[in-house]
Amino acid sequence: MADATANRVTVGTLLTARRGNGKLHWTDIFTYLYLGFGILLMFGPVVWLVLSSFKTPAGLLEFPPTMLPLGQISVEVEGYDDPLPVFRATLEDGTQKDLAQIRRIGIVSQMVDPANPENTYKVPISDRTPVREFRIATENYVEPLQRFNFGRYLWNSVVVTVVATAITLLINSMAAYGLSIYEFRGRNAIMLFVIGTLMIPITVILVPVYLVVTSLDMVNSLWAVILPGAATPTGVFLLRQYMLTLPRDLIEAARMDKASEWQIYWRVVLPLAMPAIAVLAIFSIMWRWNDFLWPLIVLNRSEVYTLQLGLNAFQGELDVQWHFILAMTVVTLIPVVLIFAFLQRFITTGIANSGMK
């Protein structure tokens, strides 16, 4: 029992793990510094993104920027159209008062008492500090999801990603089976041909593919995004290389067991190629989820927009709605993070337990 508790890995022991037996070696310090720097570098922007997504537009524009979603309070004052920002001003007589700023002229700001809109003051800007409050601006999320139909974009993105990934996995694994296990003349030539298409960048075939999609009457439907990229040479290559490592005996045993080619593919090769399939699934999901150029070309109506196109819509020529962009970027991140957290187990486990000596 004592041993079991001693050996159990907790977050605590993991975070204070040291080289050797408990003493702090210089490499420990170096490693922690290095890893800490890595976390800061990679995780910092994500944390900043999430925190900023809860800031009000005013909070976002504040300089110097704050880490937490602190926003300057603004009030509605009678006689003024827009809400005015509130400052704590030190008046000439030394008293402090919360005033709303009407406008700023040079180094003097013209302020009004929100309680008595008739009383205006002139305060040097050095004598006032913004009044801030900790406020989570959930409207950054609620508004786009309700008003701008972002829920619809999210749904479109999910449909595109799920359907396209399913099709990609199915046809790529079938092609990989044909090119690795099924024997026929000219197999290597076809493989070379498939690999060769890797060298053609998407920009080159953009126009021809668009013409094909148009003549098939698929513009402004999600199929136009799903189908053209369903067969990827990268995926075929990745799966084929993995399938080549499966023991030949297993396939032959299946042949002796009266399995048809389809059964060998479906019941023997596919389950054994799961680690490679998982890797391709992650790739495919990321490609599809982040895809921008092709959807931008074939999807023109906002009801078929994917998330990436929706995000783009917040970025006008003159005005960029950062608070919405940041919030919706967080939304687009969540599914990818969840999927990666779930699938990455597959990559590391069970790669070669083929049950053979």
Binding site: D249, A253, R255, M256, D257, K258, Q263, P271
Partner: protein, 363 residues
């Protein structure tokens, strides 16, 4: 019950011929062992019968119908692989049921067959386990079980015991023999281990370089090898094969090499001056005290005392190694010089091409 016939089967990979025209018939219910050194084509031959390899020319017949163009899945044979080739993602039960499911057998019958075979092989307790959780011997049984449930026309075994440790190999060998006695199917078994061949086979096929050297019952091969290769391959430890020259010796002839001189009565096929390979098994060499009758004087360079038996490894001029096997314990030390006599009745003589001249010489 199935009969398998090979008619002038040839196989080549590009310009390289690996099987040079093999004619062979395997009778119904027979346990045939293909044996030979590695690279002799025995596994290829088995795979040809299984349908996993195409042949370049000739014909493979199963029950008198040519199956050259018929794929492995439709030949109705079952194969046990050297690596076992168990499906790692399926339980033992699923592994055994896979072949039956593929032939669309009703679930109830599959279940009955799998459980029967599991019972026979004593693997019922492991039916729910994955192959990874089994020991080598258990995996071997599952692989055999997978073949049995199919009730195939014939069983093919490709070196099935070579991945097991020595003790388990002996045990599994006995089980296989018992299994054959029980289910009595036609079985073809490939091995490079001549002990397995001797103990299991009804008929041994000795292969070398893609040709059949000899086919016969185990003891026939042991007692009457048709050539020097078979003589050297069958039997453990190996037969001593001594290169000698025939000389006239009174009415008969004498085989000489260095200080060895084996006087024999006249043997048809040997005339003075011929090169003759003299084969004598280690157990047919006696240590002789009688000075007049010894054939060779040799020095023991290694004496192995196993308690129940003794092996002596000797050298003489022009002979590097002469192995002697004697029952019981012999008080012989390394470096001792012995006078030896060969048992004439058990002597095998081969000509310069390795073809047998006579198996056993009258004295």
């Amino acid at each position: 019950m199935t009969q398998i016939e090979l008619k002038d089967v040839r196989k080549s990979y590009g310009a390289v011929d690996v099987i040079h025209g093999i004619n062979l018939s395997v009778d119904s219910g027979e346990f045939v062992v293909f044996v030979g050194p590695s690279g002799c084509g025995k596994s290829t031959l088995l795979r040809i019968i299984a349908g996993l390899e195409d042949i370049t020319s000739g014909a493979v017949e199963i029950d008198a119908s040519v199956v050259n163009g018929i794929p492995a899945s439709e030949r109705g044979l079952a194969m046990v692989f050297q690596s076992y080739a168990l499906y790692p993602h399926m339980s033992v039960y699923k592994n055994m049921a896979f072949g039956l499911e593929n032939s669309k057998m009703p679930k109830a019958e599959i279940d009955q067959r799998v459980r029967e075979a599991a019972e026979m092989l004593q693997i019922t307790d492991y039916l729910d386990r994955r192959p990874k959780a089994l020991s080598g011997g258990q995996r071997q049984r599952v692989a055999i079980g997978r073949a049995i449930v199919r009730d195939p026309r014939a069983f093919l075994f490709d070196e099935p015991l070579s991945n097991l440790d020595a003790e388990l190999r002996v045990a599994m060998r006995k089980e296989l023999a018992a299994l054959h006695a029980k289910i009595g199917g036609t079985m073809i078994y490939v091995t490079h281990d001549q002990t397995e061949a001797m103990t299991l086979a009804d008929k041994i096929v000795v292969l070398q370089g893609g040709v059949v050297e000899q086919v016969g019952k185990p003891l026939d091969l042991y007692n009457n090898p048709q050539n020097a290769f078979v003589a050297g391959f069958i039997g453990s430890p190996r037969m001593n094969l001594l290169k000698t020259t025939a000389e006239a010796d009174g009415d008969g002839i004498a085989l000489t090499a260095g200080n060895m001189r084996v006087a024999l009565p006249a043997v048809s096929g040997i005339s003075p001056g011929d090169t003759v390979t003299c084969g004598i098994r280690p157990e047919h060499i006696a240590i002789s005290d009688d000075t007049g009758l010894d054939d060779i004087t040799a020095k023991v360079f290694l004496s192995e005392q196993l308690g129940g038996e003794t092996y002596l490894y000797c050298e003489a001029d022009s002979i590097d190694n002469l192995t002697i096997h004697q029952p019981g314990q012999l008080p012989v030390n390394n470096g001792e010089v012995l006078k030896l006599r060969f048992d004439r009745a058990q002597m095998h003589l081969f000509d310069a091409d390795g073809k047998v001249i006579t198996n056993g010489v009258s004295s």
